[in-house]
């Protein structure tokens, strides 16, 4: 059988972001996939040499547009760990609230894009319509739809008033109701099932060995979620990771779907436990010499920060490993033996975020 080489991307209708895959195809069956990155490399890690450690928060927030809050929180938590700062409980829980709102809107965005990938435009529209309510919450409470920019070293810089909390809760009820209306379609629709069930299967052992992260890992039956570590405000909340065992595209989308509902629940828990108190503690001095390694759970999976301080206001090294970076090797293992028409669905099922992969 002759091998044909088909390029996928860097510009492809299902992905707004540039990633290139060279697909070696034999009669519609993909035999091998070779990735090529580097179209949006920005060199953000290097910036820590000229921006001081406070200014780096805004840089980290811009590593990824969709989960900017969690990048900012992860960076702040790392620096706080390095400097030995304990932040107020209220700040911890406020970070959780915004983080979980970000997870919800990220997953809703992805669910819409995923529906779009197999051509279900109406579902795409519905998910994005729901997402708009969460964007409004972000905008009204933090001042911006996506890059909320509420983290500072030592706490947060925006507060939620009791009125706003009540409004968030009532909006969340509407969001949850509307999401539940789509549950049956997303999980049981015949067309969706034919496009997702049994496609791009990855077993539990494979996922673990290839270092998959987040919903890609949990979709294969591994109950691992960085929030189990209880970092920040998660120590106060009840939390069980969402797990599916099938390991195919359907399982991964179901994990994300259920995580939307779980995040809504976490926001409610955080609001009910929100104590009164300070928003931030004063931070004095520069990060000392030393290194920290911190992991958080982002919508796309586990994100790792490694920071070396050198006693000055600039950091020695800032290393960011984003979840998609970990999910590309699993993607390469999923693609062989799939049909060419399923490639967009499989690529999307890891929720690729190329800009943050390349930073």
């Amino acid at each position: 059988m002759a091998t044909t080489v088909i390029p996928f991307g860097p510009q492809h209708p299902v992905l707004p972001e540039p990633v290139h895959l060279t697909l070696k195809v034999e009669d519609e069956i993909v035999k091998e996939a070779i990735p090529a990155l580097g179209y949006v490399h920005r060199g953000l890690e290097k910036l820590c040499e000229i921006r001081d450690f406070n200014q780096m928060i805004t840089v980290c927030e811009r590593v990824c547009g969709i989960c900017s809050m969690i990048h900012g929180a992860c960076y702040s938590q790392s620096i706080e760990e390095l400097m030995g700062i304990e932040i107020p409980d209220r700040a911890k829980l406020l970070r959780v609230i915004w983080s979980e709102l970000h997870r919800m809107h990220s997953h809703l965005l992805w669910l819409g894009l995923f529906a779009d990938a197999f051509g279900f435009e109406a579902l795409f529209m519905q998910f994005w319509k729901i997402r708009e309510r969460i964007m409004d919450i972000n905008e009204a409470t933090a001042g911006s739809r996506v890059i909320v920019s509420v983290n500072i070293i030592g706490g947060v810089r925006a507060d939620l008033s009791p009125d706003q909390l009540r409004w968030i809760l009532s909006e969340l009820d509407i969001v949850e109701k509307e999401v539940r209306e789509l549950q049956d379609t997303m999980m049981n629709d015949y067309t969706i099932k034919t496009r997702t069930v049994g496609i791009g299967v990855m077993t539990k052992a494979q996922a673990w060995e290839l270092g998959a992260a987040g919903p890609t890992l949990r979709g294969s039956g591994v109950a691992q979620d960085m929030r189990q570590q209880g970092y920040g405000g998660y120590a106060f909340l009840d939390f069980e990771p969402v797990v599916e065992t099938a390991g195919d595209c359907w399982a991964r989308s179901t994990v994300r779907f259920r995580e939307v509902l779980q995040s809504a629940d976490l926001v409610r828990q955080a609001i009910s436990k929100l104590p009164e108190g300070e928003l931030a503690v004063k931070v004095k001095g520069n990060p000392p010499e030393g290194e920290v390694y911190h992991r958080v759970e982002q919508p796309r999976g586990e994100c790792m920060y490694y920071i070396r301080g050198n006693g000055t206001k600039n950091l020695d090294r800032l290393r960011i490993r984003t979840p998609t970076f970990a999910n590309i090797p699993p993607l390469l293992a999923m693609l062989p033996e799939c049909e060419l028409a399923d490639v967009p669905v499989i690529v999307l099922s890891i929720d690729p975020c190329i800009s943050c992969t390349e930073r």
Partner: protein, 122 residues
Amino acid sequence: MKGKVIDVTLDNVVGEVMNMKNDGQRLVSFSTYNAGEGKIGILYHFDKALENTHLRLVADMDKPIPSVSGVYFSALLVENEIRDQWDVKFDGLVLDFNRTLLLDPEVTKVPLANNLKIGPKN
């Protein structure tokens, strides 16, 4: 830093990583840092049931480092990235982009090795 740190050398890094794999650890990623003149520090981060283990390797930048991508396939991306950022060669990479994973072929200066200083904004 959270977790246990084990120092390794160029000779036993692959063996130690193999031990980690046999122990059922998951490779999270590598981190690199500048460990003095001409030296690179590499931390191999592992995770098992949320427990962290790190292997620390300090090596010369001009000598090739044995690749662990044969043990963990997922190491290939990060090893290629280190190749881009520090111009450190890896021996036995399963898929070698030869310094073009993130950078373009015509780039001659490697960004992280402190030979390149970002100037202040004008």
